[in-house]
Symmetry: C2
Subunit: 468 residues, 2 copies
């Protein structure tokens, strides 16, 4: 394929994408295929000779489209959103065209420099303390990671390195292996599984902290565990706080937890993967109060800030903590500085400028309002209950009754494929999660979804009554 | 920006990218900017209100382009290639438009299924033993990672988990921490720094193995180290072999090393990040002989197989080894199964089909031939010496004389920005690396590069003589 053909095919692909996104709501949101469906639809080996582009594109429709879960559909209410916007798509096309990777300054100066400045822009939008910004007199700075899981792992490893150094200074005879074997990390029982995995990778103990009635970790609980562990000869060194948990979007009380961690010399990392985007709105910024006590903070613009996957923003208060742990270039805090570093900051730049801070705030507010509308409808129907406080764009709810009943409801929904939700467990109960995800989700989609849910519920309850 | 504007701007961007790539050779390949150049060129905060797309695009030319190292230029001979092709760009546009992420089968069936099948296609192209493929009766399979560094880390962690389990079975009293503190990993002194970093992250000892006169690790050397370490109470558990080292594209002797590792119960991982792509050609496939002894194997199609960054292909012989280490979904061996998983397999599918195996082979061969041409020219000029065997697309050479002389030559080259090379150290000496990188690099570019190098060298030698 030469440049001339690329011009033609590229423009067709732009239309293909625009057509897809403009008509996405008419598609079944969850695909109707069985595991293993694809293998038999295509050859078992790569062709020896080139095939035509037409044939490839035909197979996109024949093989790929039937197996897509349409994350960008306004009927998609599962997980948390995966962001997408036209400015970000354009930036990605540019990024692909440039085809440069920025693992050091020299490898792509614009790439590394724009990243540092964009993380300062974003940090200011969030009103992060100046300590976390690079263009100030502080020792902090931001870096783009692929995912929140990567950021959590980096933070835990940096904390491990710092803790080992610290213990070693007061007790030079003690071996690194012995110190590591005594290190204990903490996180909420509601935290994402990637925190546990980071502990597993880092070879340190990890303890789950029980939450209060709002699914929030409180200082009192953590304090007790820390005291117990210290008494038993362990070394508490890391706490991963969650702002906006995956199951129910709950918030750990970091205004209480921060001072405790600081006093106990425990590294506090904040994972706000989903909720973080909302902190650009003054009315949601109080949810981040306490960040001044944190050593590192992370959230995913690729979830809720209109920046396509992947783009996870991480800030640290002391760059040297990371540099010590990873022997990295002092300016650009890459976990994987030899190979990583696409031009991901371009997406941020395009999106920030084309939406403006006001446009991004309006986008966040719209989603939160739609979630409130959904919550109100659920509350009006006495057959249902709300299972967690609705703070942002997620509503946890269930039919009053057994887990089996709710499982049956979700199964039928998934089978029909008109809307897509995933469940969670809260206090051991099976709960449905309704997340407002789509860039194009409007009031009518939320209303239609609720109508669909209540109709299915009525059928199910009637059937159950008839069976009884 | 609505769909209509995206259609217009997207088509303009396609032309922008095509124009860029068609005219790239007329640009200075290495930028003429100083560290920190960018911050003062743009505002210090994100705009409150939206800006126009025209303004953003103007700034791409004004702010970004002057700071780009043009990796896709035919004058770019630094590092190793970062692949790019029109079919891959089209696949990336589609991937961005779909905006789905495939961290589980249900999250995007087509995404996870195509990945497994594409890794089988690619595995067959490399003639990997059937053990490594998913669509067979074996226990193996492939997965796409972001980078070779990630693959190395995964392999080391899986090996660590297996080793701990194994020692624990024979000695149940021994603690995990104690076992880990005795584990020793090995890799070539010429290996990529990410191997050392993986050891650092995994908290295990790592020893660098000396190489022979071809910069290859030999079994004899490793065997001696393993015996010493065992005698000292350590537990050898992991060897990362390199096929195609970063400095000189050297190859560890895996036909010797594999049987040793198997006999010693040492996990052998093969990192063939750059060289791996060449194994699709029958004449280079012997370089992979011995892979049958490996537990895991990895290379980067995003380096040399026309698939845009990022796309690193990893295979394991026993899926359960990874699953045991990461508690992952048994089918899709994601290191980071909760968030990762863009539709990267689409790029492979588009590239494999649009080039065909024959087209990909021709592409590899062209690069190797151009490197041979460059080698021949270097050899004919008695002022220069070749510093390592030229096997694939990399030529290591230097002016006979001091390191200072060669450093001065490279500095002048970088300053002029007509071609871009980076150096390496071989046996302590400063060596220039000439890598054939560009998709559009032709004979004339290589000839021009050599003319430029010899002219600069003549000036430099003359100046030196005059100074003496």
């Amino acid at each position: 394929m030469d440049a001339a053909e690329f011009r033609r095919r590229g423009k067709e692909m732009v239309d293909f994408v625009a057509d897809y996104l403009e008509n996405i709501e008419h598609r079944r949101v969850y695909p109707d295929v069985e595991p293993g469906y694809l293998r038999s639809m295509i050859p078992s080996e790569a062709p020896l000779e080139p095939e035509s582009y037409e044939d490839v594109l035909k197979d996109v429709d024949r093989v790929i489209m039937p197996g897509i879960t349409h994350w960008q559909s306004p009927h998609f209410h599962a997980y948390f959103p995966s962001a997408s916007s036209y400015p970000a798509l354009l930036a990605d096309m540019l990024c692909g065209g440039l085809g440069c990777i920025g693992f050091t300054w020299a490898a792509s100066p614009a790439c590394t420099e724009l990243e540092t400045v964009m993380l300062d822009w974003l940090g200011k939008m969030l009103q992060l303390p100046e300590d976390f910004l690079a263009g100030t007199k502080g020792q902090g700075g931001g870096v783009i990671q692929g995912t929140a899981s990567e950021a959590t792992l980096m933070a835990l490893l940096a904390a491990r390195c710092k803790a080992v150094k610290c213990v070693h200074e007061s007790d030079p005879q003690r071996s690194e292996a012995d110190i590591i074997s005594k290190l204990i990390a903490y996180t909420s029982e509601e935290a994402h599984s990637s925190v546990e995995r980071a502990g597993l990778i880092g070879g340190v103990g990890i303890r789950m902290v029980a939450t209060d009635e709002h699914f929030s970790v409180r200082a009192e609980t953590l304090e007790k565990m820390v005291a117990e562990d210290k008494a038993a000869g362990f070394i508490p060194f890391f706490f991963c706080a969650t702002l906006g948990t995956t199951p129910s979007c709950a918030f750990d009380k970091i205004t209480e937890l921060g001072p405790l961690c600081n006093a106990e010399n425990i590294w506090m990392h904040i994972d706000a993967a989903y909720a973080g985007s909302s902190f650009i709105c003054p009315e949601f910024r109080p949810l981040l109060d306490g960040v001044e006590f944190a050593d590192s903070f992370n959230f995913n613009p690729h979830k809720w800030l209109l920046v396509n996957f992947d783009c996870s923003a991480m800030w640290v208060k002391k760059r040297t903590d990371l540099i010590g742990a990873f022997k990295l270039d002092p300016v650009y805090l890459k976990y994987d500085n030899q190979e990583s570093g696409m031009f991901r900051s371009l997406k941020l730049w395009f999106v920030f400028r084309m939406y403006g801070q006001s446009g991004l705030q309006a986008y966040i507010r719209k989603h939160v309002e739609l979630a409130k509308v959904f919550e109100t409808m659920v509350k009006k129907d006495k057959r249902f209950e709300i299972c967690a406080e609705v703070v942002l764009g997620l509503v946890c709810f269930r039919l009053k009754g057994s887990d089996e009943l709710n499982e049956a409801l979700l199964k039928e929904m998934t089978h029909l494929g008109r809307i897509h939700l995933v469940p969670c467990k809260l206090r051991g109960r099976f709960v449905l999660r309704f997340a407002v995800c789509g860039r194009t989700t409007e009031l009518r989609h939320v209303q239609e979804a609720w109508t669909h849910i209540t109709e299915l519920s009525s059928e199910l309850l009637l059937k159950k009554r008839n069976e009884a």
